[in-house]
């Protein structure tokens, strides 16, 4: 540990209020552990959105199907990095595969992750893109032609029968994929929800709340990406698609909000031993991030905007603007949600008698800068993916209708 972090900790000694156990001064799970559930949530959310198209045959959101898959992949590739970087001994991470402790929720991470990446996402993408890969490998020049050919695993068959089989495979994988996506993120919620020592985390609702907020954030992200990428590609935004997406977003926000409200009311009503310190925690430490950002800016205001847009007849340009603003607000809100869970849960003492403070590092491994890198990296990966695997055909970009 660097002398600077000792220095920070010594300074923090002065800002402790009440009594905490000595070992509780240091916030062990830092901003990186905030980024981790945020990123996995985006993966699960984007994938579940993609599944809507295939399983429930929602034609309206077809234009974002491939984009959602690519988004899920880009974020999934980054998901383990913050975890890895945060370990005290990152070079030993492989131990999780060698001697996993079966009673540990965290030990399952590697397996859930590997399953989701190879068993679901990559497989689904392969079947979805196979026909196009074959076509591209014929149309493109060297070296891209070769790359496409290798990526298609040397297949050449674009007959109707083969393509039909592909589509069937995609559907089947999606059906397996939905519970897998639920598992991927529900399990992240379980990591927190199962810690009985921590009353802020310990709740059976935690996995479900995580899941709902994941769906919210995933849809919101795909909306933003769609609205940014389509004009960049010279296409027209399909308003029908956007209207449907935002409706889903709205329902997801309502369910998410209700679940969190239920959790809150339940705690308040049961009024257990910890209720006092949790009250102080919210009032003293989480006022801005919980009440203002998460609830007001991240939920109530965007939900209000969406209601307004849905009930009044705004013209498409204004609608687009309002959709965009609410999707961004919701995104910030969900990041704040993760912050409030992870950091909030470590700010109060398990003696229930005092609070510590979190001072984010800037430059260190567990600092803001690294966290930002992990948040920006998926967008760079996505940029590359969109280049290699165009999510829209030229014809789709042109003929989109503006209703």
């Amino acid at each position: 540990m660097s002398p600077e972090s000792f220095h920070t900790l010594y300074k923090l000694l002065g800002s402790v209020s009440g009594f905490i156990y000595p070992n509780e001064l240091e916030i062990r799970w830092s901003i990186l552990i905030v980024v981790y559930p945020y990123v996995t949530g985006l993966v699960a959310g984007a994938f579940i959105l993609a599944s809507l198209v295939k399983v429930f045959n929602v034609k309206d959101v077809q234009p974002v199907y491939r984009l959602s898959l690519l988004t899920a992949l880009a974020f999934l590739l980054v998901a383990p990095l913050p975890l890895q970087a945060h370990l005290g001994r990152p070079e030993r991470a492989y131990e999780i595969f060698l001697t996993p402790n079966l009673s540990s929720a965290m030990a399952m991470f590697g397996f859930v992750y590997a399953w989701y990446l190879m068993g679901v996402l990559l497989l689904e993408m392969w079947f979805e893109y196979r026909r196009d890969l074959v076509v591209w490998s014929r149309e493109e020049k060297f070296p891209m032609s070769w790359i496409y050919w290798i990526l298609s695993l040397f297949s050449r068959d674009v007959s109707e029968r083969a393509v039909k089989f592909d589509m069937k495979a995609v559907r089947t994988i999606t059906i397996i994929g939905i519970p897998s996506a639920f598992l991927l993120h529900g399990y992240v919620g379980f990591i927190f929800g199962s810690v009985k020592a921590n009353p802020w985390w310990s709740s059976v609702l935690m996995p479900i709340v995580f899941l709902m907020s994941a769906i919210v954030s995933g849809i919101a992200l795909v909306i933003v990406l769609y609205m940014v990428l389509i004009p960049l590609k010279g296409g027209k935004i399909d308003m029908k698609c956007l209207d449907t997406l935002t409706s889903y977003l709205f329902y997801a926000v309502i369910v998410d909000f209700s679940l969190e409200a239920l959790d809150f009311i339940h705690r308040l009503y049961e009024s257990e031993e910890s209720i006092q310190i949790l009250g102080v925690l919210i009032a003293d430490k989480l006022m801005i991030s919980l009440v203002v950002i998460q609830i007001l800016l991240g939920m109530l205001i965007p939900a209000g905007i969406l209601v307004a847009v849905k009930s009044m007849k705004f013209d498409p340009e204004l609608r687009k603007l309002l959709y965009f603003v609410s999707a961004i607000l919701i995104q910030i809100g969900i990041f704040s949600t993760r912050w409030n869970v992870v950091i909030g849960g470590q700010l109060f003492s398990k003696s229930f008698r005092g609070l510590t403070t979190y001072k984010m590092e800037m430059m260190g491994v567990e600092g803001l800068l690294v966290a930002l890198v992990f948040l920006i990296l998926p967008f760079i990966i996505l940029g590359v993916l969109v280049k290699i695997f165009p999510p829209w055909k030229a014809s789709e970009l042109g003929e989109a209708k503006t209703s």
């Binding site: 540990m1 000792f6 900790l9 010594y10 000694l13 002065g14 800002s15 402790v16 209020s17 009440g18 009594f19 905490i20 156990y21 000595p22 070992n23 509780e24 001064l25 240091e26 062990r28 799970w29 945060h86 370990l87 005290g88 001994r89 990152p90 030993r92 991470a93 131990e95 999780i96 060698l98 001697t99 996993p100 402790n101 009673s103 540990s104 929720a105 965290m106 030990a107 991470f109 990591i191 199962s194 810690v195 009985k196 020592a197 921590n198 849960g345 470590q346 003492s349 398990k350 003696s351 229930f352 008698r353 005092g354």
Partner: protein
């Protein structure tokens, strides 16, 4: 043929790792900071004739006897290479002052890691006492349950230890311990906590803190030995453990513990 022997090797490697989980050798190697190398090399000779199944270690704390002198904390720091910083510790002493208006003032008098101190008037005080704290060596330890790699484990003689050679420093156990007993050691970057001085007790010695306590507030013993001081301590006192509702089954027993202590 080649593939076969490779698979065999892999199987060997994995099973060797799994079986090495609960060995006493591993336990000792993982607890004594300065003898790790030698115990690894000749682990057997150091623990000759020691049968862990015949012991069950626990500690008693006589709250009324503690005078808050902190010698236990100092002894522990020296014995176990505990970092000198006040925010990492294996054991500490809390002072409770309950005022006549029933307000409770708690202070850590060992490391001074809590906030600015307030001066209390003697006339306002209802009662006051000291409470030494340490890892409770839980019978049903949440820290062991959550460790993703099995680096934290329970020994057959009832102690919870950390294998610092395997710990990946994820910090999950630190979150899961309800008593704040764990910290991430800044030098090794692995989890650390009280071990009941495992390297001493398997040789029949007392934990360092127990040995130096001038008033006998800390009582150490073997629950499987009827003649042990601890068994007598349990017979003579009303016993309480910390946070019993969490079902961790602590093996640090407090005599005359005040209801305000958490």
């Amino acid at each position: 043929m080649y593939r076969r022997s490779f698979l065999k090797g892999l199987l060997w490697f994995i099973s060797a790792r799994i079986f090495s989980r609960n060995g006493v050798t591993r336990a000792i190697a993982s607890t004594n900071p300065d003898t790790t190398a030698t115990t690894h090399a000749n682990g057997k000779s150091i623990i000759k004739g020691y049968d862990p199944t015949r012991h069950r270690y626990a500690m008693g704390i006589d709250v009324d006897k503690c005078i808050g002198c902190n010698r236990c904390v100092e002894a522990c720091t020296v014995e176990n290479d505990v970092p000198p910083e006040p925010f990492f510790t294996r054991t500490w002493v809390e002072r409770y002052v309950i005022k006549k208006d029933k307000s409770v003032h708690v202070e850590n008098i060992s490391n001074g890691s809590d906030g600015p101190k307030e001066r209390l008037e003697e006339a306002d005080i209802l009662r006051s006492f000291f409470v030494p704290k340490l890892c409770n060596q839980c019978e049903n330890p949440p820290c062991v349950q959550v460790c993703p790699v099995g680096a934290t484990f329970s020994t057959e003689d009832g102690v919870v230890l950390i294998d610092s050679e395997r710990c990946i420093g994820c910090g999950y156990c630190i979150q899961a311990c309800p008593y704040g007993a764990r910290y991430l050691h800044p030098k090794t970057r692995t989890a650390d906590k009280c071990t009941f001085c495992y390297h001493r007790i398997v040789k029949g010695m007392l934990p360092a803190c127990v040995e130096v306590c001038p008033t006998g507030a800390r009582v150490f013993g073997d629950l499987k030995n009827r003649a042990s001081r601890l068994v007598r301590f349990e017979r003579m006192n009303k016993i309480h453990v910390l946070k019993p509702h969490l079902n961790t089954h602590p093996k640090v027993y407090y005599a005359d513990l005040d209801g305000e202590v958490r």
